[in-house]
Structure formats: C-alpha cells, structure tokens
C-alpha cells in the first residue's frame, strides 16, 4: 500500500527524521498556526503532481485560500485530490536523494543515495547514484553508512546528520515491512538541518496485519476492486470491454494477452486462483457481471481448481439472475467433461482452444 506523503512523514517523525513544519488543511481556519510563505501540496498516490499543478507556493491568507480551492478536488492522473498538506518553506542549500527498496534479484534491501536530489531518480546518471546491498542478517552496519556518505562529499557535520537519517530510515524500512522508502529531496537547509521534504513509502500489503497503526487507504482501488479485495478475489479493472475470468495469475495474464493479439481489449482481470469452492466462484462471477463487460471470457485449466466446481458456481449465477452478455468458455483439464455437461444448457459459447476462444470473444465484443 502506498502511503500518502503526509502519512509517510508521520512515520519519519516517529523515527526522528525531521520533516518541515506542516499540517493537513481544509479551509482558511487551518492556516492560523502556519507561517507564510508556505506550500500547498496535493496528496495523491502518484508522481508528477507538481507538473499537474498540485503543488503551489502561497504568500498570504488570500492567496492561500484561492490556491487551496484550486487544488482541492483537482484531478491528477485520475485521482481526485481530497487532502492537501500545507508546509512551511525551508531554505535549501543542497538537495540529496535517499531510498531503500527491495532488490528482487539480490533478494536483499538496496540502499541508494545521490547528491542529485530533487529530480526523478530515473533520469540521474548511474555513476551519480551510490548503492549498497544490505544482507538481512547483518542489517545496516556503520561501514555501509560510511561508504555511502563518503561518496556524497558533504561537510563533516552534514555527513553526520545524513548518516543518522540513513540508519533511522533503514530501521523504519525493516520494522514497517516497507517495499520502498524514498526521500527525494532530502535537503540540507541553509541553517544546516537535514530535512525530508517529500516522502514515498510503500508498505507490503501482506504484512499490514502486523501494523495496526497503518490505516488502510485503498485510494487506488475502484469500488468493485475494493469489494473484491474484501472477498479475497484478485480482480482488476482495465480499460477494455472483455471481462476475463481464469484460474491462476499467469493464465489470466496470458488470456488478456491473447485478446490483444486478436485486437480486443481486456476490461477485467479476474483470477480465481487456487480455489475449489463453488461459492467463491459464484461471488467472483457476480462481481464480473457488476463490471458490465460486453463479453465474458471464461478460460479454465482445471487442476486443483476443478473445472466442474467453476461450472457449478457460474451456473448458479446464470440460472438465478440470467446473463445479459455473451459468455465464451474454453474449459480444459481436471473434470472438463463434467463441467461441459453442467454448462451445456446455460446458453454459453464454447471453444476448444485459447486462440479460438479469444478470437470469438473479440468478434463478439466488436459487434456490441
């Protein structure tokens, strides 16, 4: 789960990493304890908000009121701004970059620092980014910190403070099960303080159960996706109009790929996973109906999830509520004959191969 900037900064504060003086603001009453000039920052779980006009500097109360009303409710890459963070300005002497993330290839934490802060790290040349890989059993050691800090060519006192931030950030990364913690920029102020001006924190969803203080703000999910998540169903809404139900993430992706090959567009990714419970299939199929695709494409390879189990769940929904879009099925594997028997009177379109089924789905979707 991606945290909003202000939530990430609450965690920084908890770990003793300095952040600018600031608070969430809803209207002008909230400005009273802030010193002008300050900055209004839209809270959205996506980058590029500055370019989209989601960050504005304000000089006085009137200015602040006007700009706040512009930002609140603004749409940034599909996210509506509902929260705005106001932060007092800091005089910047130097901008640094610091992050810790999961390195999948090395299977360790990867620490990165750069003297080129404030810009997109993807655009910083590799030789200006300094990396250390941290084995989980030794954790961050003084030598890691000395090594990275020495590359930044800071004054002695600054170096000490940045080192301090680094070890606190690592502690937070591990204790809060983070996938990513990024401070960009981490600044050295003209007073010599080291302050995190931004925060990007992603917490591993699978570990949220042990962090009861992190409030789930699933702002990235559509209402149906949220519903699916609560039911434990892997369900993602996409831009197209063909709803795909398959079992297994890989097979579901491969099915969407096949649709694209035949010039169709997947509208829903629904992975039944390894369930063999007709009730769960029923819930999944109901969700799919609610997404209102033009065509539903059911692609099954039965193993642990038996074909007839899925057929039963699908049949239950269709016989109770009917279905108002064509359903193309391609069913193979464990108990496929039983499944075909269950579905034979349900008015579904059958196909023998993935290619054939994908072609049929795309043709039907094109007609509607």
């Amino acid at each position: 789960m991606k945290l909003f900037e202000y939530r990430g900064k609450e965690l920084f504060d908890k770990y003793g990493i300095s952040v600018p003086n600031g608070k969430l603001v809803n209207d002008e009453k909230d400005f009273s304890d802030l010193k002008f000039p300050f900055i209004l920052k839209a809270q959205v779980p996506i980058g590029g908000r500055g370019k989209a006009g989601g960050i504005k500097s304000v000089e006085n109360k009137k200015d602040a009121k006007e700009k706040l009303s512009q930002i609140l409710g603004m749409d940034i890459k599909g996210f509506t701004v509902r929260k705005v963070l106001a932060e007092e300005k800091v005089d910047i002497k130097k901008e640094l970059y610091m992050s810790i993330m999961l390195d999948r290839s090395q299977r360790t934490s990867l620490l990165m620092v750069s003297g080129k802060g404030g810009m997109d790290i993807e655009s910083v040349p590799d030789d200006l980014i300094f990396k250390e890989w941290i084995n989980p059993f030794i954790g961050i050691q003084p030598f890691h910190i000395r090594g990275t800090i020495s590359k930044l060519k800071l004054e002695k006192e600054e170096g000490k403070q940045v080192a301090n931030v680094l070890s606190k950030l690592y502690k937070m990364f591990r204790e809060y099960d983070c996938e990513l913690v990024e401070i960009n920029p981490l600044i050295i102020s003209s007073d010599g303080d080291v302050i995190a001006l931004d925060s990007k924190v992603t917490i591993n969803d699978d570990a949220l159960y042990r962090h009861s203080d992190i409030v789930a703000e699933n702002v990235e999910l559509t209402p149906l996706e949220k519903d699916a998540k609560e039911k434990g169903i892997a369900f993602i809404q996409l831009d197209g109009n063909i709803g795909v139900i398959a079992n297994g993430a890989g097979l579901t992706m491969a099915t969407l790929d096949a649709l694209t090959h035949f010039k169709g567009d997947g509208g829903v990714f629904l992975d039944l996973g390894g369930t063999d419970d007709p009730e769960k299939v029923k819930q999944a199929f109901e969700l799919m109906k609610k997404a209102k695709p033009s065509v539903i494409f059911l692609n099954l390879f039965g193993g642990i999830t038996k074909c007839d189990t899925v057929a039963r769940g699908v049949k239950a929904v269709i016989s109770k509520e009917g279905i108002d879009c064509p359903v193309v099925t391609r069913i193979k594997g464990m108990n496929e004959e039983k499944a075909k028997d269950i579905l034979k009177d349900a008015g579904l379109i059958t196909a023998a191969t993935l290619q054939d089924a994908a072609q049929k789905s795309c043709d039907l979707a094109g007609e509607r």
Binding site: L102, R104, S105, R107, T108, S109, E122, N135, P136, F137, R174, D177, E179, N204, D205, D206, A207, Y209, R210, A234, I236, L238, D239, A246, N247, G248, A249, G250, L251, T252, M253, A254, L256, D257, A258, L259, T260, H261, G266, F269, D271, G273, G274, F301, G302, G303, I304, T305, K332, G333, M334, T353, L354, Q355
Partner: protein
Amino acid sequence: MSIFVDEKNKVLVQGATGHQGVFHIGEMLNFGTKVVAGVTPGKAGQEVHGVPVFDTVMDAVVETDANTSLVLVPARFAKDAVFEALDAGIKTVVVITENIPFHDAMEFVHYAKYKDAILIGPNCPGIASPGKTKIGILPGGIFMEGNVGVASRSGTLTYEIVNSLKEKGMGQSTCVGLGGDPIIGTTFIDALDAFEKDKDTKAVVLVGEIGGTAEEDASEHIIEHISKPVFAFIAGRTAPPGKRMGHAGAIIARGKGTAKSKIEAFEKADVKLARFPTDIADLVEKYS
C-alpha cells in the same frame, strides 16, 4: 535423472492436518512420493492417510529420517516453519504458502543459503520429477516422464504448458514452480544450471511473467553458460504499469519489468518465444 528432487526425497509436510494438508498428502502418495511424516503442533499421534503426525519437525526427522519439507502453513507462521525445518537439518524446503510478507521471505531465503539447503518458493505450486516424486500441489495427472525441463513463475499456466507437451508426446525431466513472489529461493538461473548438468534434460522451457528482472538475468546467464535449447513464454505483454496482476511479483513498477524488455533479452540469448502458451509444445518439437 532429474533436478533438485527424486525418489530419494523423504518428505514431511508442515501443516499436515488442515484441509490442504490432508488433500495433498493423499495426492502425493498417489503420485508415488515418499511422504513419511506430517507436522502440526499439538497433533502428535494422529495419522493422515496412514502418515504419522508429529508436534515438531525435529521429532519427525528423528523418527522418520525425513530430509525434505513441504510448507503449507498459513502466511503468518511460514517464517517460523521454514526456520524450524532448516534448523532440524532439512535440506530441501518447498514453500507453497502465498501472501508471506517479503521481509520474512528475505530472511528465510538467506538462512536457507547459509544452511546450504534448496528452498523453492514461496507462493509456488511445488516441484515434480515425473516417475519419481511430486512435492507440492501440482496436479499429478498432467505429467509424463521425459526430457523437457520446465521452470516457471506461474502455476496454472505451467500445467497448461506441461499438458500440451504431454499431448504431443513430450514428457518432463523435472517441472519446478519457482513462485510468483518478488523474493524467491530458487531462480531461473539456479534451475537452468541444474538442467544444463542433468543428462536427461534435452530442452528447457521457462515460463516467465512481467515484474522484476528474473528473465533478463536468465538471458544473460544463458548466453554465457547454457548450451541446451531454451524456450520461453512470457505472460503479461499487455499488462498496464502499476497494476499488480494477481501475483505479488507481477507488477511493472518504476518502468522496470515490462514484457518488452524480457522479450528483447530472450531474443538476444536465442531463446525461442511462444506467442500462446500452448505453442511452446510446437516450438520444442520443431527445434529440439
């Protein structure tokens, strides 16, 4: 021959008495797997399909000489279960459990390396060497003894591919499900090295997906170290960035992990790529 597992693996199942445990112990016994023990704390003395259940892994190892563990426990107990197995001297651990916090996986993957053990998974369907053993939840009926090695990040997609190989009369030396998580114990590179050494493997099939750089890493390794023909399928060519496609590992984040980059890497390594999963069998037939 085969890689990683064969008839010498004596398997204990951690999480033996749950619904999954009972079902899959039965399935593995049917396949011919030597399942010698189950472990569920507090359930010592029970039996599952005639297999004795113990309270601890150590008790099971002392009584049965088990050398392999299949981990089916819920995610929040998985780290403890893997550590317990490794400390009891288990040398092969297959972790089926999904949704394990990756900081936990990071720890047990490193501990397995320190203990010189093979760790497969987490969030994987397991491993099968047809005619010898099956350790995991893969459906037994799809396999056939033969010379194609399969390593995959996906589950069902693998069954589909294995099944289509069988329909063309091509069996498998070993089929290993590596797992769909960002942090896994055994990688494409480990599997490729093992298949390269295995005299019964004539061709290797890799089943990849978007997310991470496992396919790119594998491609570089193939160029330098692998002489056997390699075939691949990649799922998620059309997946949008930032959306997690079911598997925790299947996500295009920060511009990395796209299918395009994987396809280019494989082409550079002269790996033959299939457009549809079932085309793999045609390619293997044609080129090996």
